[in-house]
Amino acid sequence: MLNQNLPFMILATLSVFSALMVVLSRKPVHSVLYLIFCFFTIGGHYLLLNAQFLFAVHIIVYAGAIMVLFLFTLMFINLNKELEPHKTNLVKAAATIVAGTLLLVMVSTVTDTGNILPTQVSQNEVGTVAVLGKKLYGDYVLPFELTSILLLAAMVGAVMIGKKNTES
């Protein structure tokens, strides 16, 4: 039992560790690198869950696009110095307490819902490109097309915000 759990346990430990390091490391570039690592471990979870399509999309979108954007912005702004202001210890303690309380609330909610979970795992193959492609272009074709409009709007918006204001 423990041996079969081992891949999940290793990946989960790495995920939590790297997520914590995102928050706690002092240099922003280190945070970004830990976040990339965290995304790769979450991709590993997708593989364990038989979601191959999501694994590929996750790696391409997050590690390929979003993280490059973050790193590019960070190097553009050049914040890689340690004199970044930190919050006072009071605010840090308050943040930790709030997060811990939230964790407590969510864990207690989850443990209360234990008996409505299905007891046996479905044997359907849902994570493959074939199944998800049929779903995406069948039931979800309208949201899928709207997503492309959203991405276009985001692209235009980013260019409009980012360009130099030439009139003034």
Binding site: P7, I42, L54, I66, L79, N124, V126, A154
Partner: protein, 106 residues
Amino acid sequence: MNSILSVVPIEYYLGLSVILFTIGVMGVLFRRNAIIVFMCIELMLNAVNLLLTAFSTLHGEAGGQVMVFFIMAVAAAEVAVGLAILVMIYNNLRTVDIKEMNKLKW
């Protein structure tokens, strides 16, 4: 083909997602660098994505994974616009400290 869920109970994935989400919330409250606040928001989105995928596999229902796909698209759009805004804020204020971004506060 058996997935990992036949040996790992779904509660473990619930726990992992809750922990990752809480770390994201803590980061948003904890840090003053706006870029890191953005990264913590990504972390929270990923925690939810992971849980959606786990339940989608558990139920054998592809809708959950389609939702994860849409969440990823929205996250990409959000990051593109958000980082553009941050770069403009940096150009104007020469800082990305969220303490300084209080012009709209009162």
